[in-house]
């Protein structure tokens, strides 16, 4: 097991090196650049050339890449061209926002999705089931940004129940400890800050949760229906077990196996959905950083985000492989 882990970790190094080269070359092959993005309609050929010269962007690409690699190996991902702030510090500030939003959305999706799917299966063909099926179809189909704007227009603007965007009201005096706004309020006993953060979290979390919720409901419903028709359930019933015991011990447990796999897949999709949700709700997380960096050609920030994203992806894949081996002894790690 240890040898497997070490070998996989060593494989990560060439993967990331190759990826860094691809990302570096890809960004520089795109039209436009940081100089013209910075200068806007004040751009002149001389100014663009001058900024490129001062920033070293006029050097051959392998020279630029060598410098970049040297800095990254020293743990320096550089400074954002937009803000002049260290990129890692910016990512560190934005990450809790995205994690807070994604985890809340996942909790909503799982917390509501499994019970709803289970109930729909139990009431197959009846109004509750039909309504659930139609609702989930809509949930899967509706674009995240459209739903976000709709929820804002109704619950924030029309009814005024929730704030329309941001993570905290500007007049709330909140102490930043972990970067997780709700948690920080609890840790510092600034409960008004915590409530305010929760207030801001509701609409974006619902927006982000909608698609995974719909998927989880549908998978749970299908899986429960499948298990209900299986032989071992018939056997359990014929043994004289009570319906409650059959459902809880046999049906639910078996039905949740594919649901768990789906939840795992949804985590990746949640992060992708977070980009749009963050844009609509001005959330200030990783998705916002990524979108701004693409718009304004912030090479250092984009490189760091893409490389760190790839690192996380590779490590999560490793963990998944390891977990398979732990869950199912038939899987050999080799």
């Amino acid at each position: 097991m240890l040898r497997f882990v070490l070998r996989r970790l060593l494989q990560v190094i060439p993967t990331l090196l190759l990826l860094s080269l691809l990302v570096f070359a890809w960004l520089r092959s795109l039209p436009g650049g940081p100089a013209s993005a910075f200068l806007g309609d004040r751009a002149t050929p001389e100014r663009i050339a001058e900024l490129n010269r001062v920033l070293g962007l006029d050097q051959p690409i392998f020279v630029q890449y060598g410098r970049f690699l040297g800095r990254v190996l020293a743990g320096d991902f550089g400074v954002s061209t937009i803000t002049g702030q260290p990129v890692l510090a910016e990512i560190g500030r934005a990450l809790p926002a995205t994690v807070e939003l994604s985890v809340t959305a996942l909790v909503i999706a799982v917390g509501l999705g499994i019970p709803l799917g289970y109930l729909a299966a139990q009431h197959r063909g009846r109004p509750l089931d039909v309504a659930t099926v139609i609702g989930t179809l809509v949930g899967v189909a509706v674009p995240v940004f459209f739903l976000g704007y709709l929820l804002k227009a109704f619950f924030a603007v029309e009814l005024g129940w929730f704030p329309p965007s941001g993570r905290q009201a500007v007049d709330v005096d909140a102490t930043n400890v972990t970067g997780f706004a709700v948690l920080d309020g609890l840790l510092t006993r600034e409960f008004d800050a915590s409530l305010d953060a929760l207030d801001h979290l509701v609409l974006p979390a619902i927006t982000l949760a909608t698609i995974p919720l719909a998927v989880i409901v549908r998978i749970t419903r299908a899986s429960v229906l499948d298990v209900l028709g299986s032989d071992f359930v018939r056997t359990a019933n014929s043994k004289g077990l009570t319906p409650g015991t059959v459902r809880s011990r046999h049906v639910l447990r078996n039905a949740l196996l594919p649901v768990s796999t789906t939840i795992g897949l949804q985590v990746g999709l949640l992060l992708a959905g977070a980009v749009l949700t963050e844009k609509v709700f001005v959330w200030g997380g990783i998705g916002t950083l990524l979108a701004d960096s693409i718009t304004l050609k912030d090479y250092p920030r984009l490189q760091a985000l893409l490389l760190l994203g790839a690192l996380v992806y590779v490590l999560v894949n490793l963990l998944v492989d390891l977990s398979y081996a732990i869950i199912d002894p038939r899987v050999r790690l080799s």
Partner: protein, 558 residues
């Protein structure tokens, strides 16, 4: 069953708890909004802005979002009268040029203090001028764009500025008199002394917080603490904080301000990049106003009870023509045909916001040097066809570049503007190859650096009231954007710029404008459009500025 029922109950309870907590927060929010942070004091004004500032040192600023907070914290020697582009005293009560306009004597206000408590006086003025001249390295000089535009060079040129600096020296014969000596006269003065980039900073703070420490780091610039945390001017607001996580800039009233004190206690700029999100924040009551409402929203905002304040026009949108890339465009008859083919009345009526006007020349009517006798080139597709036939270009094809993923004050919706112009040109028999490119994804490089286009859309928002700031920027020298080969135009613009007597300066530019439209026609001026500001109805005292130079000390919450 029992266990699953228990789980369901727990999930429901969690949901109810979340909604209850959120409702509590909502109630608290409502209370806060009702109070508005006001009471016996001036309260807090929260203003939504579309972008974050690069830094807080106005010397290293070049975009409106960086200038906006700086304008509240700093003063210039000469300033612009609110709501106009006219000059009025700022930190200088009087300014007098020598006979040859190479020496400017500033009589300064007395008793003015910087935010750090140090005195503003003639020594401080000279310190600032000398700081600008002596910027130490290429990174700093590359960032001081307005200074290098105005003064053309540094003591030791490290970047693209290669000329002799216009600024020579500064002396302080007494604390209330500063004498600035120039190496040559320039028509941009005195108006350019009002540029926000030329604001007065505290010499003590500049030195203490390493203001000139601009460095290249990887592919970006880093600034010293002065520009990020300690901007120190004499303005009506003082810097308090910049929360980069929440993207909120907080300024506090300067109770020792030399002029009219700010009415609100705190001024908060909340960065909300999306115009629709800004609108919803205003409607939800979480901000008091915002800049650049989309023109399509003006009517609904007005009917919703908000005040839409339209700025006087101070920009220009033009249909650019690149003579180098397409030889057919070197013939003035072809360029005139394009102008006659363009239905600018309809463009202004259908595509641009209320207050927009058809442009007769390359600057708005409020700028000195505007030739009032010029008439707009009429929309006449038949005349356009005739001119094309005379030039032997009846089958003209052009590559028309236009930007996407951008709105500018002079160009709220480039795609719609392009579509209208494309149809105009088609009706005159010109075939248009549409080349859309993202603003930051190649468009600016294609147009301004590489000149690979035939036609393009671009514009300009003026910095100060001088025709040279418009016409000189476009046609003062050869640029890939226009590919002009006739140097007579550059000489004419250069001569007008070098004419320093204000009346003669304006007259020279009036003639340049006439010649541009009749003799050269290097592009087609289309329109000037006013951007707007929107505020809640309890907000008063916002004075919309043609220069987008709004000062919030006049603003109060009712």
């Amino acid at each position: 069953m029992l266990r699953s029922a228990r789980r369901l109950s727990a999930a429901c309870a969690a949901g109810v708890l979340a909604v209850t907590l959120a409702a509590c927060a909502q109630s608290a929010r409502d209370d806060g909004a009702a109070q508005g942070g006001a009471g016996a004091t001036g309260g807090t004004l929260v203003f939504g802005v579309p972008g974050a500032p690069d830094n807080f040192d106005p010397l290293f600023a070049q975009d409106g979002e960086t200038f906006r907070p700086a304008r509240q914290m700093f003063d210039t020697l000469i300033t612009y009268k609110q709501g106009t582009s006219d000059l009025e005293p700022g930190l200088a009560l009087e300014w007098t040029p020598s006979a040859d306009f190479t020496e400017w004597t500033f009589k300064l206000r007395e008793g003015v203090k910087f935010h750090d408590g140090t005195d503003f006086n003639a020594e401080a003025v000279c310190f600032n001028f000398n700081r600008w001249l002596n910027l130490p390295n290429a990174a700093a000089q590359a960032q001081a764009i307005y200074y290098s535009d105005t003064f053309e060079g540094f003591a030791s040129n490290q970047a693209s500025a290669t000329g002799t600096p216009v600024y020579n020296s500064c002396s302080a014969p007494d604390p209330a008199t500063a004498v600035v000596t120039l190496n040559k006269a320039k028509g941009a003065f005195p108006a350019a002394f009002g540029l926000t980039s030329l604001s007065m900073s505290s010499p003590a703070a500049l030195q203490q917080y390493n203001a000139d420490q601009v460095e290249q780091s990887g592919e970006a610039f880093t600034y010293g603490p002065y520009a990020t945390e300690h901007p120190t001017g004499t303005g009506p607001f003082k810097f308090e904080s910049y929360d980069r996580t929440a993207n909120v800039i907080t300024l506090a009233r300067n109770d020792d301000y030399w002029g009219e004190k700010a009415k609100v206690d705190k001024l908060i700029f909340k960065v909300i990049p999306d115009a629709n999100a800004r609108k919803q924040e205003l409607q939800a009551g979480t901000i008091d106003g915002y800049d650049y409402p989309a023109p399509a929203d003006w009517e609904s905002l007005k009917s919703g009870g908000f005040d839409v304040l339209v700025r006087p026009v101070f920009n220009i949108l033009y249909l650019g023509i690149n003579q180098k890339n397409n030889p057919a465009l070197q013939d003035i008859r072809v360029r005139q045909a394009i102008a006659y083919a363009t239905d600018r009345e309809s463009l202004v009526r259908n595509q641009l916001p209320e207050g927009a006007v058809v442009a007769t020349q390359f600057l708005p009517a409020t700028v000195d040097g505007y030739a009032a006798d010029l008439q707009p080139i009429p929309y006449d597709p038949e005349k356009a066809k005739q001119l094309l036939a005379e030039a032997g270009q009846s089958n003209l094809t052009v590559n028309f570049y236009y930007p996407t993923e951008v709105t500018r004050p002079y160009m709220p919706d480039p795609v719609n503007i392009f579509t209208a112009l494309q149809e105009n040109l088609r009706q005159a028999g010109i075939t248009v190859n549409a080349v859309p490119q993202p603003w930051n994804g190649g468009y600016l490089d294609s147009i301004t650096a590489n000149g690979v286009h035939d036609l393009h859309l671009l514009g300009w928002t003026g910095d100060y009231n001088d025709a040279g700031n418009f016409v000189g920027t476009f046609f003062g020298r050869n640029k890939p954007e226009f590919g002009i080969t006739d140097t007579a135009l550059f000489q004419e613009v250069g001569a007008a710029d070098a004419t320093v007597d204000p009346t003669a300066h304006a007259a020279a530019y009036e003639q340049v404008n006439r010649d541009l439209m009749t003799k050269y026609l290097p592009a087609v001026p289309l329109s000037s459009s006013p951007p707007a500001i929107v505020v809640r109805d309890n907000i008063s005292g916002v004075i919309p500025s043609p220069l987008t130079d709004e000062r919030f000390y006049t603003v109060s919450k009712g």
